[in-house]
Symmetry: C2
Subunit: 264 residues, 2 copies
């Protein structure tokens, strides 16, 4: 037979030896393509490294370098003795990866404190048409259908954050208030299990503003009080925006926390 262009068992194709860029990067893109296409869903185990390497026609070392990169980006997870899996992103680790509000504490404990689980309350769930800002953020057209969800997050029983979440109705077909409020895990977990959408990262822009009427009501603060407004766009593969969220935070007793630079 010689060279088999595609392997129907795994959906992997033999890599050309003269493709663009290094071989390990082609292997990486090939694996990424499989995950993005849904051929391997979050939680699935990939075939063993030796099998994948053979299917792609590369050495085991080259395949490992490709997997290394995907592990670093949280697309894959390796477990010694068990296998390599498509990442799930729903552990506590990832809940807090995207939740950045903490009780005020001026660096006394160096930021290493156990974090509290926020209590979530859905105060509104409506369908509508995207305005200019929402369309720009989600890269859809103004007037396209969207779903808007308003949540109130409380810590220690006191309301701290008002989340206004906007997603394209097109992308999230079948999203219902019932499914949304009764989801077992996090919101990003719901995106994944119900709509096959994996949130990999997010861009955020923060600004101080005066509390408006609705925010004042939801958070229980006086109108005009300084509040922190965080605009977030959540991104999936290829930096495609999938969620636009405006979080309004009462920072009277809490801080918005971020860690700059890399490192594990």
């Amino acid at each position: 037979m010689g060279v088999n262009p595609t392997n129907p068992v795994h959906g992997l194709k033999q890599l050309a030896t003269s493709g663009p860029g290094p071989l390990y990067r082609q292997a990486r893109l090939e694996l990424q393509r499989l995950v993005e296409s849904g051929r391997y869903a979050p939680g699935d185990a990939l075939p063993s490294e030796s099998v994948v390497a053979a299917a792609l026609g590369v050495s085991i070392g080259t395949l490992r370098k490709a997997v290394d990169e995907l592990v670093h980006e949280h697309v894959l997870v390796r477990r010694q003795g068990k296998g390599t899996f498509v990442a799930l992103l729903n552990d506590d680790r990832f809940l807090f990866q995207f939740f950045h509000v903490e009780p005020r504490d001026d660096f006394g404990e160096g930021g290493l404190r156990e974090r509290e689980d926020p209590q979530v309350e859905c105060v509104a769930f409506v369908r509508g048409r995207a305005d200019e800002a929402e369309a720009a953020a989600l890269r859809i057209r103004p007037g396209d259908g969207v779903v808007r969800v308003d949540n109130r997050l409380s810590l220690s029983g006191r309301p701290v954050v008002h989340d206004r979440i906007v997603v394209a109705a097109q992308t999230f077909k079948g999203l219902s208030e019932k499914r949304f409020t009764e989801r077992p895990g996090t919101i990003y977990n719901l995106y994944q299990t119900d709509h096959g959408i994996t949130v990999l990262r997010a861009r955020e822009r923060a600004r101080a503003t005066a509390a408006g009427r609705e925010t004042a009501r939801i958070l229980g603060v006086a109108i005009g009080r300084p509040v922190l407004e965080v605009h977030r766009v959540a991104l999936t593969f290829g930096d495609k925006p999938v969620e636009y969220r405006v979080s309004t935070i009462n920072t009277a007793n809490h801080d918005y926390v971020s860690l700059l630079s890399k490192r594990a």
Copy 2:
């Protein structure tokens, strides 16, 4: 001769084969130790990979894995054909690594715009004694000597940020207003060249607050206007705090920007 415990030429010691953890991690710590100690200063070239590998008594592949990790953390930089260098952290790339203020733009360009160089103005440079908050942040004792510097940062000629920088006098001996204001590069570059301190990362906490008298004066806003207050602790090796900085930002026309999750 056999095994030579330390090599006086490079300051590298042969690694024990039965040390704690994998060999490549021991090699990494050994390299990190050399950089932290100042034996190799920022900008210096390390000996070639084959030489370092031989000095440590490990294979070249194992050494490369150790260097990979340090490159990922921005401690080292590799340049094909030239060598491996201790990272400098003063390029534009790293200026913006720690400067997160951008003109307002609701995700229209997706955050990929050329950023403007802020114009810095030193409005105060005084010595004093650490208060409780400063001492906790810098992990020194209240009453220890500190240097406080107030800067005003302007974008497009308009004041946007008021920085109050606090450092321990003990750590920054010989820091003068003249050196500070006449420095050629960034502040973190000055820390590095004049005091041998490399800022690797930082922790930040943001909150919305009402502009006080001094802030209002410096930023040219009305007293009581909502402004963004960012408390930053800059860290060097071993997460040792070296700078405490409170940035007060007028977010009327600018945002504080952050990118969550990993990825290059």
